[in-house]
């Protein structure tokens, strides 16, 4: 089964996944129109900022077993086996925030949205673009991520790729190569800027 895999080392922090996610979970599914809807659609993937100002796309892991599901008293949270997706039923949700407290990754938000009963604030999180997948589309965040920090593939393939990458990096006589020279230069630069500040506060 194909799943969304996160490759954090490739996140360039463009936040286009957030944009695409909000649009994919809007009524109109169109960027321009979505920005005019009420309630405003919101992203279900969030790009955080790391210690060195690098991006990290934080996304529901659809854990198994899912702590949020276990914490949900009214049974609003269930698992779709076909897509291996933890889903929240907006009709059953009582907005108690138990799931958010249980979630180790902080991916659950509370707001209105266009599939929930009008005016009702409910728990909202990534649904693996369930609707798009039914239409044969891949999740919106993956589609928009041109840096391939998010991919939609069989986890075993991604793991194999990663394993090979690591293996190649320790091959005898091989110099460590950058993922992308310019990106490394930029990141090293940013890191240095932050370290200069740290160096001062330690001294």
């Amino acid at each position: 089964m194909r799943k969304v895999i996160v490759h954090p080392q490739r996140c360039v922090g463009c936040m286009q996944c957030m944009h695409a996610c909000a649009t994919a979970h809007s009524k109109s599914k169109e960027l321009f129109a979505a920005a005019l809807e009420s309630p405003l659609p919101k992203a279900r993937i969030h790009v955080g900022v790391g210690l060195f100002n690098e991006g990290f796309p934080n996304r529901c892991r659809h854990c198994e077993p899912a702590p949020c599901q276990l914490a949900c008293l009214p049974g609003a949270i269930s698992r779709d086996v076909e897509t291996d997706t933890v889903l929240i039923d907006p009709d059953l949700c009582i907005n108690c925030a138990s799931c958010a407290m249980a979630c180790p990754f902080g991916v659950i938000r509370y707001h209105q949205h266009c599939y929930a009963p009008p005016g009702k604030v409910v728990a909202v999180k990534c649904d693996n673009c369930f609707e798009r997948q039914m239409q044969g589309l891949i999740p919106a965040c993956v589609e928009v991520c041109k840096a391939h920090a998010l991919t939609f593939e069989d986890p075993s393939r991604a793991l194999k790729r990663r394993t090979d990458e690591v293996a190649r990096s320790v091959s005898p006589g091989v110099l460590q190569t950058d993922l992308a020279a310019g990106f490394s230069v930029l990141n090293a630069h940013k890191r240095q800027q932050i370290e200069i500040a740290l160096r001062r506060s330690q001294s």
């Binding site: 490739r10 360039v12 463009c14 936040m15 840096a147 993922l179 310019g182 990106f183 630069h189």
Partner: protein, 622 residues
């Protein structure tokens, strides 16, 4: 507070950041943190919005798109984006210069009442460079002819800008050979915008070369005209004592801050602040007087010519308002954060915008023109006085620091006894190892002033004379480096010379357009030595730059032969070809390169190495 200490090294800044937090004021640092992480495509110069087949972006990891819809690759996209930054920077300085030439013309026509020719000698000197015969003409007539001739530099007929003749012959030969001798000032900007249109220049090398040409049209064109005409109209700067940091505000005075870049407005405000009847009015309103202070470059312009105090630099512009002590801030243009109006709204401060080309949210617009500026200035100063009564609590947390400003090339040469020879002798002898120009702004990526001050300290410790401008100059002033006593912090050679001449080891040369004073000084040295600028033991740095103007300045420094070290990274890392050309390849073309180094200590090392290398090549003692 560690957070605040990380944001700024200045004591006034730290205390006012606390005040801002108490007053729930959002500052530029808050907005910066809100924007993190920033878009990596944009940061690397890899996104293009030049046409609506796009927007396009290139995947730096090589798997996603490697070309825009039109077919442009990373090199082209990065070079086009950088080219447009230079165009905007050059256009900004040059449009500023244009406004001064317009005033000069109106003064000649007798229309700009309130303005006058303050430095007739300089007028004649510059007019002579433009081939204008001054004999038997009165200053107004010369001024009219000079304005007309300078306007021709803005036009499209010249094959080469007039003031280029100040550059060493070897330098001009390089520009001619590379075909980057700038022609019309506006023309080079227009051509850059044209070249970067879809389907025009798709060669990253020629794009970057035109970037240098465009930048030269600023450095030896628009900016140089701006400085020269400012000197003619408002007087050539002379060293004078002044004060800096937020402590220059006075609790018992009407405090007026000028902010922006163009002295055309601030000089008139100064006159109004000094007029007896308005001072009287201030006293009638319970104030001890009127206290005019500056921030940013319009402040530097006043500091240089009139010893007006400076309340702060770029990142202080919001904080100064949180003192509650500013009765009015008057802005013209450039580097004025659009957030200022909403900061001022939390206090009694009146915000006044003055330029026909720059308005801001939450400001009252009073348009200044050469014909009405004197009168408008009186009008707004009167309002500021009336606003004094509406002050709430005032918090001026520090005492000001003393500083000396006002080092034009003319006065530096004067201080040296009328010729640059003593400086050359000191360089030759090795008493002074070299000279460095430090310029540019603040940037929330870098602890405020830390880059400027650390770099300056490391250089003077090693007997390198520092000249600075703009927000860099304010930073070192705040740090106390612009005092004759600061010579104590210099190495033995520099200390000795500063002592002998009675000057600080760090010379304030003015505003951002005044970077051309550095070019003129470097040219004078090169000419005296019969060599080219790139052979001198000098360097440039912009440790905390943020603006497109700074990109243009950096580019004209490098194109003029000055090795230049940048603190923040420009958006070019998407193309290692562009990075290599700018940091290595340009050496073969113009004899100088950029270097990017966020750590000011390492930057100082790199500059020292560069300077010692140049000394060795000149055969000077090591």
């Amino acid at each position: 507070n560690d957070l605040f200490a990380n944001r700024t090294m200045t004591r006034d800044g730290q205390l006012l950041l606390e005040k801002a937090q108490r007053d729930r004021i959002e500052t530029v640092w808050d907005r910066f943190e809100n924007q993190l992480p920033q878009c990596g495509y944009c940061e690397m110069g890899l996104s293009c919005r030049i046409c609506v087949m796009g927007p396009c972006r290139i995947d730096p990891f090589g798997e996603g798109p490697q070309k825009g819809v039109c077919g442009a690759d990373a090199d082209i996209i990065v070079a086009r984006n950088l080219g447009r930054m230079i165009a905007a920077g050059a256009a900004s300085h040059s449009d500023h210069g244009r406004d001064l030439v317009d005033v000069l013309q109106e003064v000649a026509e007798g229309k700009a009442t309130g303005y006058q020719i303050r430095d007739v000698e300089k007028l004649k000197r510059v007019a002579a460079e433009y081939g204008i015969v001054a004999d038997g003409k009165d200053p107004a007539e010369i001024a009219g002819e000079l304005a007309y001739a300078m306007q021709e530099d803005y036009g499209t007929r010249r094959k080469s800008l007039t003031l280029l003749q100040r550059a060493p012959a070897k330098r001009r030969a390089i520009w001619d050979k590379l075909n980057i001798t700038p022609r019309g000032i506006d023309r080079e900007t227009s051509e850059m915008m044209h070249r970067t249109h879809m389907g025009v220049d798709n060669n990253w090398q020629t794009l970057l070369l035109h970037g240098l040409r465009n930048a030269l049209s600023d450095g030896w064109g628009g900016s140089m005209i701006a400085t020269e005409v400012s000197d003619i109209l408002f007087g050539t700067p002379q060293p004078a004592a002044t004060m800096v940091n937020v402590g220059v505000l006075k609790a018992d005075h009407v405090n007026i801050i000028v902010h922006g870049h163009n002295p055309v407005v601030s000089e008139m405000v100064l006159h109004a602040c000094q007029s007896e009847d308005l001072l009287q009015l201030a006293r009638e309103n319970g104030a001890a007087g009127i206290n005019l202070a500056g921030v940013c470059c319009t402040g530097n312009e006043l500091l240089m010519r009139n010893g007006i105090p400076m309340a702060g630099n770029h990142l202080t512009t919001e904080l100064v308002l949180t003192t509650g002590a500013v009765d009015m801030m008057i802005v013209d243009y450039q580097c004025i954060m659009p957030s200022l109006g909403s900061v001022a709204a939390c206090y009694h401060t009146k915000m006044i915008s003055t330029s026909d080309k720059a308005r801001f949210p939450g400001m009252q617009h009073r348009e200044f023109h050469p014909e009405n500026a004197a009168e408008k200035a009186r009008e707004v100063v009167k309002e500021a006085i009336e606003n004094f009564a509406d002050r709430g609590e005032v918090y001026i947390p520090v005492e000001p620091v003393k500083a000396i400003g006002g080092f034009s090339v003319e006065t530096i040469v004067d201080a040296l006894g009328g010729t640059p020879q003593p400086l050359i002798d000191a360089l030759k002898a090795g008493t002074i190892r070299g000279a460095v120009g430090i310029v540019g702004c603040n940037n929330p990526r870098i602890r405020q002033d830390f880059g400027h001050v650390t770099l300056t300290q490391k250089l003077i410790e090693n007997d390198i004379l520092v000249v600075d401008t703009g927000c860099a100059a304010v930073a070192t002033s705040k740090a106390g480096l612009k005092l004759a006593e600061a010579a104590q912090m210099a190495g033995p050679g520099l200390r000795e010379i500063c002592g002998a001449l009675g000057i600080p080891p760090v010379l304030h040369m003015g505003s951002c357009v005044d970077n051309v004073r550095i070019l003129v000084l470097a040219s004078a040295l090169a000419n005296a030595l019969g060599t080219d600028i790139c052979d001198l033991p000098i360097a440039g740095a912009a440790p905390e730059w943020y603006s497109e103007k700074a990109v243009a300045i950096g580019a004209y420094f490098v194109a003029s032969g000055v090795y230049t070290v940048l603190g923040p990274m420009p958006p070019i890392t998407g193309s290692m070809n562009v990075v290599k050309l700018l940091t290595e390849g340009l050496k073969d073309e113009v004899g100088a390169t950029f270097h990017v180094e966020p750590d000011p200590e390492k930057a100082a090392l790199a500059m020292r190495r560069h300077i010692e290398g140049k000394r060795a090549k000149l055969g000077l003692p090591s």
